[in-house]
Protein backbone atom coordinates (compact mmCIF):
# COMPACT_ATOMS: atom_id res chain seq x y z
CA UNK A 1 0.00 0.00 0.00
CA UNK A 2 1.29 3.44 -0.89
CA UNK A 3 1.25 5.80 2.03
CA UNK A 4 1.31 9.54 1.83
CA UNK A 5 4.73 11.00 2.22
CA UNK A 6 5.02 13.61 4.93
CA UNK A 7 4.66 17.05 3.47
CA UNK A 8 3.54 15.78 0.10
CA UNK A 9 0.85 18.03 -1.33
CA UNK A 10 -1.07 16.88 -4.36
CA UNK A 11 -3.10 19.22 -6.56
CA UNK A 12 -6.78 19.68 -5.76
CA UNK A 13 -7.94 17.48 -8.58
CA UNK A 14 -9.02 13.92 -8.64
CA UNK A 15 -9.98 11.36 -11.19
CA UNK A 16 -13.67 10.40 -11.12
CA UNK A 17 -14.32 7.15 -9.37
CA UNK A 18 -14.46 3.88 -11.18
CA UNK A 19 -17.78 2.00 -11.06
CA UNK A 20 -18.39 0.17 -7.84
CA UNK A 21 -17.43 -3.33 -8.76
CA UNK A 22 -14.26 -2.63 -10.66
CA UNK A 23 -10.87 -2.86 -9.08
CA UNK A 24 -8.67 0.17 -9.04
CA UNK A 25 -5.49 1.07 -7.28
CA UNK A 26 -6.11 1.72 -3.63
CA UNK A 27 -6.02 5.36 -2.73
CA UNK A 28 -4.35 6.56 0.41
CA UNK A 29 -5.57 9.96 1.46
CA UNK A 30 -4.82 12.21 4.37
CA UNK A 31 -6.27 15.47 5.49
CA UNK A 32 -5.06 17.42 8.47
CA UNK A 33 -6.64 20.71 9.51
CA UNK A 34 -5.77 23.19 12.21
CA UNK A 35 -8.41 25.62 13.49
CA UNK A 36 -7.57 28.63 15.63
CA UNK A 37 -9.59 31.40 17.19
CA UNK A 38 -8.44 34.82 16.02
CA UNK A 39 -10.19 38.07 16.88
CA UNK A 40 -13.52 36.41 17.66
CA UNK A 41 -13.57 34.26 14.56
CA UNK A 42 -12.38 30.72 13.99
CA UNK A 43 -9.95 30.45 11.11
CA UNK A 44 -8.74 27.45 9.21
CA UNK A 45 -5.18 28.31 10.15
CA UNK A 46 -3.37 25.53 8.37
CA UNK A 47 -4.11 22.50 6.28
CA UNK A 48 -2.20 19.60 4.91
CA UNK A 49 -3.52 17.00 2.57
CA UNK A 50 -2.39 14.38 0.20
CA UNK A 51 -4.49 12.17 -1.98
CA UNK A 52 -8.15 12.80 -2.67
CA UNK A 53 -9.38 14.42 0.54
CA UNK A 54 -9.91 18.15 0.51
CA UNK A 55 -11.80 21.06 2.00
CA UNK A 56 -13.63 23.95 0.47
CA UNK A 57 -13.34 27.52 1.64
CA UNK A 58 -14.92 27.76 5.12
CA UNK A 59 -18.37 29.27 5.66
CA UNK A 60 -19.39 31.60 8.48
CA UNK A 61 -23.17 31.27 8.83
CA UNK A 62 -23.18 31.94 12.60
CA UNK A 63 -22.84 35.19 14.48
CA UNK A 64 -20.24 33.81 16.89
CA UNK A 65 -17.63 33.21 14.21
CA UNK A 66 -18.01 29.42 14.14
CA UNK A 67 -16.20 27.99 11.17
CA UNK A 68 -18.22 25.58 8.97
CA UNK A 69 -16.17 23.30 6.76
CA UNK A 70 -17.19 20.75 4.14
CA UNK A 71 -14.94 17.74 3.89
CA UNK A 72 -14.70 16.47 0.34
CA UNK A 73 -13.69 13.11 -0.97
CA UNK A 74 -14.00 13.61 -4.73
CA UNK A 75 -13.83 9.90 -5.63
CA UNK A 76 -17.04 9.65 -3.54
CA UNK A 77 -16.44 6.00 -2.87
CA UNK A 78 -14.02 3.93 -0.88
CA UNK A 79 -12.79 0.52 -1.99
CA UNK A 80 -10.83 -2.25 -0.35
CA UNK A 81 -7.30 -1.17 0.54
CA UNK A 82 -8.20 2.52 0.67
CA UNK A 83 -7.08 4.35 3.71
CA UNK A 84 -8.62 7.73 4.48
CA UNK A 85 -7.10 9.46 7.44
CA UNK A 86 -8.48 12.73 8.80
CA UNK A 87 -6.98 14.65 11.66
CA UNK A 88 -8.54 17.83 13.03
CA UNK A 89 -6.96 20.10 15.60
CA UNK A 90 -9.35 22.56 17.19
CA UNK A 91 -7.32 25.01 19.23
CA UNK A 92 -8.37 26.68 22.47
CA UNK A 93 -11.50 28.75 22.02
CA UNK A 94 -12.13 27.75 18.41
CA UNK A 95 -15.58 26.61 17.19
CA UNK A 96 -15.94 24.31 14.25
CA UNK A 97 -18.73 22.48 12.43
CA UNK A 98 -17.51 19.76 10.09
CA UNK A 99 -19.75 17.97 7.61
CA UNK A 100 -19.69 16.28 4.23
CA UNK A 101 -21.64 17.29 1.12
CA UNK A 102 -22.88 13.75 0.48
CA UNK A 103 -22.90 10.19 1.72
CA UNK A 104 -19.65 8.32 2.19
CA UNK A 105 -19.80 5.09 0.19
CA UNK A 106 -17.88 1.94 0.92
CA UNK A 107 -17.92 -0.13 -2.26
CA UNK A 108 -17.58 -3.84 -2.75
CA UNK A 109 -14.13 -4.98 -1.75
CA UNK A 110 -12.10 -7.88 -3.00
CA UNK A 111 -11.35 -8.65 0.61
CA UNK A 112 -9.09 -5.86 1.77
CA UNK A 113 -10.23 -3.59 4.55
CA UNK A 114 -11.16 -0.04 3.61
CA UNK A 115 -10.41 2.28 6.49
CA UNK A 116 -11.71 5.70 7.37
CA UNK A 117 -10.00 7.03 10.45
CA UNK A 118 -10.77 10.38 12.04
CA UNK A 119 -8.88 11.91 14.91
CA UNK A 120 -10.14 15.07 16.56
CA UNK A 121 -8.46 17.10 19.27
CA UNK A 122 -10.46 19.84 20.95
CA UNK A 123 -8.73 22.43 23.15
CA UNK A 124 -9.82 24.43 26.16
CA UNK A 125 -13.14 26.19 25.70
CA UNK A 126 -13.32 24.94 22.13
CA UNK A 127 -16.24 23.31 20.33
CA UNK A 128 -16.10 20.72 17.58
CA UNK A 129 -19.26 19.40 15.94
CA UNK A 130 -18.57 16.56 13.53
CA UNK A 131 -21.76 15.82 11.63
CA UNK A 132 -20.98 13.94 8.43
CA UNK A 133 -23.72 12.60 6.20
CA UNK A 134 -24.43 8.90 6.24
CA UNK A 135 -22.01 6.09 5.52
CA UNK A 136 -23.39 3.59 3.00
CA UNK A 137 -21.98 0.10 3.20
CA UNK A 138 -22.48 -1.57 -0.19
CA UNK A 139 -22.92 -5.31 -0.30
CA UNK A 140 -19.49 -6.90 -0.28
CA UNK A 141 -17.70 -3.98 1.37
CA UNK A 142 -15.19 -4.52 4.14
CA UNK A 143 -15.33 -1.23 6.00
CA UNK A 144 -13.72 0.10 9.13
CA UNK A 145 -14.80 3.49 10.39
CA UNK A 146 -13.01 4.85 13.43
CA UNK A 147 -13.38 8.14 15.26
CA UNK A 148 -11.17 9.09 18.18
CA UNK A 149 -11.82 12.34 20.01
CA UNK A 150 -9.59 13.91 22.65
CA UNK A 151 -11.12 16.70 24.72
CA UNK A 152 -9.71 19.32 27.05
CA UNK A 153 -11.53 19.40 30.42
CA UNK A 154 -14.08 22.01 29.28
CA UNK A 155 -14.18 21.31 25.54
CA UNK A 156 -17.44 20.44 23.77
CA UNK A 157 -17.89 17.72 21.17
CA UNK A 158 -20.97 16.69 19.27
CA UNK A 159 -20.75 13.95 16.70
CA UNK A 160 -23.01 11.60 14.84
CA UNK A 161 -22.75 8.61 12.58
CA UNK A 162 -25.33 6.94 10.39
CA UNK A 163 -24.54 3.52 8.99
CA UNK A 164 -26.73 2.31 6.13
CA UNK A 165 -26.41 -1.34 5.19
CA UNK A 166 -26.81 -2.10 1.52
CA UNK A 167 -29.02 0.03 -0.70
CA UNK A 168 -32.58 -1.04 0.04
CA UNK A 169 -33.99 1.61 -2.28
CA UNK A 170 -32.09 0.01 -5.15
CA UNK A 171 -33.21 -3.44 -4.06
CA UNK A 172 -29.73 -4.31 -2.84
CA UNK A 173 -29.62 -5.91 0.58
CA UNK A 174 -26.53 -6.35 2.73
CA UNK A 175 -25.94 -9.85 1.45
CA UNK A 176 -22.16 -9.93 1.84
CA UNK A 177 -19.43 -7.96 3.54
CA UNK A 178 -18.82 -6.43 6.89
CA UNK A 179 -18.51 -3.16 8.75
CA UNK A 180 -16.88 -2.26 12.04
CA UNK A 181 -17.46 1.16 13.46
CA UNK A 182 -15.79 2.51 16.56
CA UNK A 183 -16.14 5.80 18.40
CA UNK A 184 -14.04 6.71 21.39
CA UNK A 185 -14.11 9.99 23.33
CA UNK A 186 -11.49 10.79 25.96
CA UNK A 187 -11.76 13.83 28.19
CA UNK A 188 -8.83 14.95 30.27
CA UNK A 189 -7.20 11.53 29.90
CA UNK A 190 -10.29 9.53 30.91
CA UNK A 191 -12.53 7.68 28.42
CA UNK A 192 -16.06 9.09 28.62
CA UNK A 193 -17.61 7.28 25.68
CA UNK A 194 -16.79 4.10 23.84
CA UNK A 195 -18.91 2.28 21.34
CA UNK A 196 -18.16 -0.27 18.69
CA UNK A 197 -20.59 -1.90 16.30
CA UNK A 198 -19.42 -4.79 14.17
CA UNK A 199 -21.78 -6.40 11.68
CA UNK A 200 -21.26 -9.02 9.03
CA UNK A 201 -23.70 -10.12 6.37
CA UNK A 202 -25.57 -13.12 7.67
CA UNK A 203 -24.83 -12.30 11.33
CA UNK A 204 -27.79 -12.92 13.64
CA UNK A 205 -27.68 -9.31 14.88
CA UNK A 206 -29.02 -7.99 11.58
CA UNK A 207 -32.42 -9.55 12.19
CA UNK A 208 -32.37 -9.96 15.97
CA UNK A 209 -34.81 -7.95 18.07
CA UNK A 210 -32.02 -6.82 20.42
CA UNK A 211 -29.85 -5.38 17.65
CA UNK A 212 -30.97 -4.12 14.23
CA UNK A 213 -34.37 -5.85 14.01
CA UNK A 214 -34.05 -6.09 10.25
CA UNK A 215 -33.65 -2.33 9.83
CA UNK A 216 -30.97 -1.08 7.43
CA UNK A 217 -30.06 2.21 9.11
CA UNK A 218 -28.62 2.84 12.56
CA UNK A 219 -27.47 6.19 13.85
CA UNK A 220 -25.94 7.45 17.06
CA UNK A 221 -25.29 11.01 18.16
CA UNK A 222 -23.16 11.83 21.17
CA UNK A 223 -22.97 15.22 22.83
CA UNK A 224 -20.11 15.60 25.29
CA UNK A 225 -20.18 18.91 27.10
CA UNK A 226 -21.77 20.71 30.03
CA UNK A 227 -25.57 20.38 29.96
CA UNK A 228 -28.37 20.81 32.49
CA UNK A 229 -29.61 17.63 34.20
CA UNK A 230 -32.85 17.61 32.25
CA UNK A 231 -31.28 17.80 28.79
CA UNK A 232 -32.47 14.33 27.77
CA UNK A 233 -35.96 15.08 29.10
CA UNK A 234 -36.15 18.15 26.89
CA UNK A 235 -35.02 16.24 23.81
CA UNK A 236 -37.44 13.44 24.59
CA UNK A 237 -40.32 15.87 25.00
CA UNK A 238 -39.60 17.41 21.61
CA UNK A 239 -39.12 14.22 19.63
CA UNK A 240 -41.32 11.76 21.53
CA UNK A 241 -44.11 10.27 19.52
CA UNK A 242 -42.08 10.59 16.38
CA UNK A 243 -40.07 7.50 16.81
CA UNK A 244 -40.63 5.43 19.91
CA UNK A 245 -41.64 1.84 20.14
CA UNK A 246 -42.11 0.84 16.56
CA UNK A 247 -41.01 1.20 13.00
CA UNK A 248 -44.27 2.57 11.75
CA UNK A 249 -45.43 6.07 11.04
CA UNK A 250 -45.74 7.16 14.65
CA UNK A 251 -45.44 10.82 13.78
CA UNK A 252 -44.40 12.36 10.52
CA UNK A 253 -40.99 10.69 10.76
CA UNK A 254 -40.32 6.97 10.45
CA UNK A 255 -38.11 4.83 12.62
CA UNK A 256 -37.29 4.63 16.31
CA UNK A 257 -35.56 7.31 18.38
CA UNK A 258 -34.12 7.21 21.87
CA UNK A 259 -32.19 9.57 24.09
CA UNK A 260 -30.34 9.01 27.35
CA UNK A 261 -28.24 11.26 29.54
CA UNK A 262 -25.24 9.50 31.02
CA UNK A 263 -22.73 11.02 33.41
CA UNK A 264 -20.53 12.52 30.74
CA UNK A 265 -22.56 12.46 27.54
CA UNK A 266 -26.04 12.57 26.07
CA UNK A 267 -26.58 9.87 23.47
CA UNK A 268 -29.36 9.81 20.88
CA UNK A 269 -30.05 6.81 18.68
CA UNK A 270 -31.98 6.12 15.52
CA UNK A 271 -32.98 2.78 14.06
CA UNK A 272 -35.12 2.55 10.98
CA UNK A 273 -35.19 2.55 7.24
CA UNK A 274 -35.09 6.25 6.37
CA UNK A 275 -31.83 8.00 7.01
CA UNK A 276 -33.38 11.36 6.14
CA UNK A 277 -35.85 10.90 9.02
CA UNK A 278 -33.06 9.90 11.37
CA UNK A 279 -31.16 13.03 10.43
CA UNK A 280 -34.25 15.17 10.93
CA UNK A 281 -34.61 13.77 14.46
CA UNK A 282 -30.94 14.29 15.25
CA UNK A 283 -31.02 17.86 13.93
CA UNK A 284 -33.89 18.57 16.35
CA UNK A 285 -31.91 16.99 19.17
CA UNK A 286 -28.78 18.90 18.16
CA UNK A 287 -30.78 22.13 18.20
CA UNK A 288 -32.04 21.51 21.73
CA UNK A 289 -28.66 20.39 23.08
CA UNK A 290 -26.93 23.34 21.45
CA UNK A 291 -29.38 25.80 22.99
CA UNK A 292 -28.89 24.20 26.40
CA UNK A 293 -25.14 23.75 26.19
CA UNK A 294 -23.99 26.61 24.01
CA UNK A 295 -26.84 29.10 24.16
CA UNK A 296 -27.46 29.10 20.41
CA UNK A 297 -29.68 27.20 17.97
CA UNK A 298 -28.57 24.61 15.47
CA UNK A 299 -27.12 25.97 12.27
CA UNK A 300 -27.72 23.28 9.71
CA UNK A 301 -25.19 23.47 6.90
CA UNK A 302 -26.98 24.53 3.73
CA UNK A 303 -25.55 21.62 1.80
CA UNK A 304 -27.78 19.25 3.78
CA UNK A 305 -30.80 20.76 2.07
CA UNK A 306 -29.56 20.02 -1.44
Amino acid sequence: MVLCQPGEILPDTATPVAPAATRRRSWPAELELWFASMAGKTRLARRRHCGPLLVQKPFYPEKDGSCHVYLLHPPAGIVGGDRLVQHFHVDDGARVVLTTPGATRFYRSLGDVALQSTRIEVGAGAVCEFLPQETIIFAGANARVETTVTLAPDAVYAGWDFICLGRPAAGEGFTAGRVAQRVEIVRDGRPVWFERMALSAGAPQLAAAFALSGQPTAGAMVYAGALPDDAAERVRAAIDGQGQGGFGDAGCLQGMFSVSQLEDVVVCRYLGSRVADGKAMFVQAWDILRRLGQGKPASAPRIWAT
Partner: protein, 244 residues
Protein backbone atom coordinates in the same frame (compact mmCIF):
# COMPACT_ATOMS: atom_id res chain seq x y z
CA UNK B 1 -13.37 -43.79 45.15
CA UNK B 2 -13.18 -45.43 41.76
CA UNK B 3 -12.27 -43.86 38.43
CA UNK B 4 -10.54 -40.58 37.67
CA UNK B 5 -11.04 -37.73 40.08
CA UNK B 6 -13.54 -35.15 38.86
CA UNK B 7 -12.18 -31.60 39.00
CA UNK B 8 -13.18 -29.98 42.25
CA UNK B 9 -16.29 -27.81 42.21
CA UNK B 10 -15.36 -24.13 42.37
CA UNK B 11 -17.35 -23.59 45.54
CA UNK B 12 -16.29 -19.98 45.98
CA UNK B 13 -17.65 -19.27 42.50
CA UNK B 14 -21.00 -20.80 43.49
CA UNK B 15 -21.13 -18.31 46.34
CA UNK B 16 -20.24 -15.36 44.09
CA UNK B 17 -22.98 -16.18 41.56
CA UNK B 18 -25.56 -17.03 44.19
CA UNK B 19 -28.72 -14.99 44.58
CA UNK B 20 -27.69 -14.52 48.20
CA UNK B 21 -24.77 -12.28 47.20
CA UNK B 22 -25.96 -8.91 48.51
CA UNK B 23 -25.40 -6.73 45.43
CA UNK B 24 -28.99 -6.25 44.31
CA UNK B 25 -28.62 -8.05 40.97
CA UNK B 26 -32.28 -9.00 40.94
CA UNK B 27 -33.59 -5.45 40.91
CA UNK B 28 -32.32 -4.88 37.37
CA UNK B 29 -33.68 -6.14 34.05
CA UNK B 30 -31.01 -4.69 31.71
CA UNK B 31 -33.58 -3.36 29.28
CA UNK B 32 -35.70 -6.52 29.28
CA UNK B 33 -38.63 -4.76 30.94
CA UNK B 34 -38.72 -2.19 28.13
CA UNK B 35 -38.34 -4.92 25.50
CA UNK B 36 -41.37 -6.70 26.96
CA UNK B 37 -43.25 -3.40 27.03
CA UNK B 38 -42.39 -2.83 23.35
CA UNK B 39 -43.72 -6.30 22.53
CA UNK B 40 -40.38 -7.60 21.27
CA UNK B 41 -40.14 -10.20 24.03
CA UNK B 42 -43.42 -12.01 24.62
CA UNK B 43 -42.90 -15.76 25.04
CA UNK B 44 -40.34 -18.41 25.89
CA UNK B 45 -38.64 -18.36 22.47
CA UNK B 46 -38.32 -14.60 22.19
CA UNK B 47 -37.13 -14.44 25.80
CA UNK B 48 -34.42 -17.02 25.19
CA UNK B 49 -33.33 -15.35 21.93
CA UNK B 50 -33.10 -11.96 23.62
CA UNK B 51 -31.17 -13.15 26.66
CA UNK B 52 -28.80 -15.48 24.83
CA UNK B 53 -28.34 -13.09 21.92
CA UNK B 54 -27.36 -10.09 24.01
CA UNK B 55 -25.04 -12.15 26.20
CA UNK B 56 -23.29 -13.95 23.36
CA UNK B 57 -23.04 -11.12 20.85
CA UNK B 58 -22.57 -8.04 23.03
CA UNK B 59 -21.72 -8.95 26.62
CA UNK B 60 -19.16 -11.63 25.71
CA UNK B 61 -17.11 -9.38 23.46
CA UNK B 62 -17.25 -6.37 25.75
CA UNK B 63 -17.61 -7.19 29.45
CA UNK B 64 -16.32 -10.72 28.83
CA UNK B 65 -13.25 -9.75 26.83
CA UNK B 66 -12.39 -6.96 29.28
CA UNK B 67 -13.01 -9.24 32.28
CA UNK B 68 -10.40 -11.71 31.04
CA UNK B 69 -7.94 -8.85 30.57
CA UNK B 70 -8.72 -7.56 34.07
CA UNK B 71 -8.02 -10.98 35.54
CA UNK B 72 -4.69 -11.04 33.69
CA UNK B 73 -3.87 -7.53 34.93
CA UNK B 74 -4.61 -8.58 38.54
CA UNK B 75 -2.47 -11.68 38.09
CA UNK B 76 0.55 -9.58 37.11
CA UNK B 77 -0.21 -6.93 39.76
CA UNK B 78 -0.79 -4.31 37.08
CA UNK B 79 -3.03 -1.90 38.96
CA UNK B 80 -2.80 0.85 36.35
CA UNK B 81 -3.73 -1.60 33.62
CA UNK B 82 -6.66 -2.86 35.67
CA UNK B 83 -7.92 0.69 36.24
CA UNK B 84 -7.60 1.51 32.53
CA UNK B 85 -9.64 -1.57 31.58
CA UNK B 86 -12.28 -0.63 34.14
CA UNK B 87 -12.42 2.93 32.75
CA UNK B 88 -12.82 1.56 29.22
CA UNK B 89 -15.68 -0.64 30.36
CA UNK B 90 -17.38 2.21 32.20
CA UNK B 91 -17.22 4.41 29.08
CA UNK B 92 -19.05 1.74 27.09
CA UNK B 93 -22.32 1.64 29.02
CA UNK B 94 -25.07 2.31 26.53
CA UNK B 95 -27.59 4.26 28.62
CA UNK B 96 -28.02 6.01 31.94
CA UNK B 97 -29.74 3.06 33.60
CA UNK B 98 -27.18 0.55 32.41
CA UNK B 99 -24.47 2.86 33.69
CA UNK B 100 -26.17 3.20 37.07
CA UNK B 101 -26.83 -0.53 37.34
CA UNK B 102 -23.18 -1.31 36.68
CA UNK B 103 -22.05 1.37 39.10
CA UNK B 104 -24.37 0.41 41.96
CA UNK B 105 -23.64 -3.30 41.72
CA UNK B 106 -19.91 -2.58 41.51
CA UNK B 107 -20.07 -0.35 44.56
CA UNK B 108 -22.09 -2.87 46.54
CA UNK B 109 -19.60 -5.60 45.68
CA UNK B 110 -16.59 -3.43 46.51
CA UNK B 111 -18.12 -2.49 49.86
CA UNK B 112 -18.87 -6.13 50.61
CA UNK B 113 -15.36 -7.22 49.70
CA UNK B 114 -13.84 -4.42 51.77
CA UNK B 115 -16.01 -5.47 54.74
CA UNK B 116 -14.81 -9.04 54.19
CA UNK B 117 -11.25 -7.65 54.42
CA UNK B 118 -10.23 -8.53 50.90
CA UNK B 119 -6.99 -6.51 50.81
CA UNK B 120 -7.27 -5.12 47.26
CA UNK B 121 -10.89 -4.09 47.81
CA UNK B 122 -9.94 -2.28 51.02
CA UNK B 123 -7.16 -0.42 49.24
CA UNK B 124 -9.39 0.57 46.33
CA UNK B 125 -12.22 1.65 48.62
CA UNK B 126 -9.73 3.87 50.50
CA UNK B 127 -8.38 5.31 47.25
CA UNK B 128 -11.83 6.20 46.04
CA UNK B 129 -12.62 7.98 49.26
CA UNK B 130 -9.32 9.85 49.03
CA UNK B 131 -10.01 10.81 45.43
CA UNK B 132 -13.05 12.80 46.48
CA UNK B 133 -12.41 14.20 49.94
CA UNK B 134 -15.52 15.33 51.74
CA UNK B 135 -17.78 13.22 49.55
CA UNK B 136 -19.55 10.16 50.88
CA UNK B 137 -17.55 7.05 49.99
CA UNK B 138 -20.50 5.33 48.32
CA UNK B 139 -22.05 6.18 46.01
CA UNK B 140 -19.42 8.33 44.52
CA UNK B 141 -16.04 6.95 45.28
CA UNK B 142 -13.63 7.68 42.46
CA UNK B 143 -14.03 10.76 40.28
CA UNK B 144 -16.31 8.66 38.11
CA UNK B 145 -17.79 6.83 41.05
CA UNK B 146 -16.07 3.52 41.79
CA UNK B 147 -15.66 0.24 40.05
CA UNK B 148 -17.77 -1.38 37.40
CA UNK B 149 -19.57 -4.56 38.44
CA UNK B 150 -17.39 -6.55 36.07
CA UNK B 151 -14.21 -5.16 37.66
CA UNK B 152 -15.49 -5.78 41.19
CA UNK B 153 -16.37 -9.35 40.24
CA UNK B 154 -12.83 -9.78 38.87
CA UNK B 155 -11.37 -8.70 42.20
CA UNK B 156 -13.49 -11.27 44.03
CA UNK B 157 -12.69 -14.04 41.56
CA UNK B 158 -8.99 -13.29 41.73
CA UNK B 159 -9.00 -13.15 45.52
CA UNK B 160 -10.56 -16.61 45.82
CA UNK B 161 -8.26 -17.99 43.11
CA UNK B 162 -10.98 -18.88 40.64
CA UNK B 163 -9.53 -19.50 37.18
CA UNK B 164 -10.40 -16.69 34.77
CA UNK B 165 -12.50 -18.63 32.27
CA UNK B 166 -14.43 -20.40 35.03
CA UNK B 167 -15.06 -17.05 36.66
CA UNK B 168 -16.29 -15.61 33.37
CA UNK B 169 -18.62 -18.59 32.87
CA UNK B 170 -20.03 -17.83 36.31
CA UNK B 171 -20.36 -14.13 35.57
CA UNK B 172 -22.34 -14.83 32.39
CA UNK B 173 -24.37 -17.49 34.17
CA UNK B 174 -25.37 -15.02 36.87
CA UNK B 175 -26.41 -12.49 34.22
CA UNK B 176 -28.48 -15.14 32.42
CA UNK B 177 -30.10 -16.28 35.64
CA UNK B 178 -31.01 -12.73 36.66
CA UNK B 179 -32.49 -12.13 33.22
CA UNK B 180 -34.56 -15.31 33.37
CA UNK B 181 -35.81 -14.39 36.83
CA UNK B 182 -36.84 -10.99 35.49
CA UNK B 183 -38.53 -12.58 32.46
CA UNK B 184 -40.57 -14.92 34.70
CA UNK B 185 -42.11 -11.85 36.30
CA UNK B 186 -42.31 -9.64 33.21
CA UNK B 187 -43.29 -11.74 30.20
CA UNK B 188 -44.58 -13.58 32.28
CA UNK B 189 -43.16 -17.08 31.98
CA UNK B 190 -43.76 -20.19 34.04
CA UNK B 191 -40.95 -21.53 36.19
CA UNK B 192 -40.65 -24.59 33.97
CA UNK B 193 -40.09 -22.37 30.93
CA UNK B 194 -37.47 -20.50 32.92
CA UNK B 195 -35.73 -23.76 33.73
CA UNK B 196 -35.78 -24.80 30.07
CA UNK B 197 -33.98 -21.57 29.15
CA UNK B 198 -31.41 -22.07 31.89
CA UNK B 199 -30.88 -25.70 30.87
CA UNK B 200 -29.94 -24.43 27.39
CA UNK B 201 -27.70 -21.69 28.80
CA UNK B 202 -24.47 -23.68 29.31
CA UNK B 203 -24.06 -24.24 25.57
CA UNK B 204 -24.41 -20.50 24.92
CA UNK B 205 -22.07 -19.69 27.80
CA UNK B 206 -19.39 -22.00 26.43
CA UNK B 207 -19.52 -20.18 23.09
CA UNK B 208 -19.61 -16.78 24.79
CA UNK B 209 -16.53 -17.51 26.89
CA UNK B 210 -14.68 -18.73 23.81
CA UNK B 211 -15.59 -15.54 21.95
CA UNK B 212 -14.42 -13.43 24.87
CA UNK B 213 -11.11 -15.25 24.84
CA UNK B 214 -10.66 -14.95 21.08
CA UNK B 215 -11.43 -11.22 20.82
CA UNK B 216 -8.43 -9.14 19.88
CA UNK B 217 -8.02 -5.63 21.29
CA UNK B 218 -9.60 -4.08 18.20
CA UNK B 219 -12.54 -6.49 18.34
CA UNK B 220 -13.72 -5.46 21.79
CA UNK B 221 -17.27 -4.17 22.01
CA UNK B 222 -20.36 -4.72 19.90
CA UNK B 223 -23.38 -2.67 20.82
CA UNK B 224 -26.90 -4.12 20.70
CA UNK B 225 -28.68 -1.12 19.25
CA UNK B 226 -32.29 -2.00 20.09
CA UNK B 227 -31.34 -3.07 23.63
CA UNK B 228 -29.60 0.28 24.11
CA UNK B 229 -32.69 2.10 22.86
CA UNK B 230 -35.10 0.05 24.96
CA UNK B 231 -33.00 0.80 28.01
CA UNK B 232 -33.19 4.53 27.24
CA UNK B 233 -37.00 4.34 26.90
CA UNK B 234 -37.23 2.55 30.23
CA UNK B 235 -36.11 5.75 31.97
CA UNK B 236 -39.58 7.19 31.55
CA UNK B 237 -41.64 4.03 31.18
CA UNK B 238 -44.88 4.59 33.08
CA UNK B 239 -45.02 1.46 35.19
CA UNK B 240 -41.82 -0.29 36.20
CA UNK B 241 -40.91 -3.26 38.37
CA UNK B 242 -37.15 -3.01 37.77
CA UNK B 243 -34.52 -0.31 38.06
CA UNK B 244 -33.18 -0.87 34.56
Amino acid sequence: MNGPMAPPLPLHLLRLVSQSLPVGAFSYSRGLEAAVHAGWVHDETTTRDWIFGTLEHSYAVFDGALFLRMMAALERSDRAGFAALDAWLAAGRESRELQQEDRRMGEAMLRLLADLEVPLARELAREYVAARPGQPPCPGGSPRGGLSWTAAFAIAAWHWRIPATQALSGLIWSAAEAQVAAAIRLVPLGHTAGQRILIAAPEMITRAVARAGDAGDDEIGNVSVALAMASAWHENQYSRLFRS
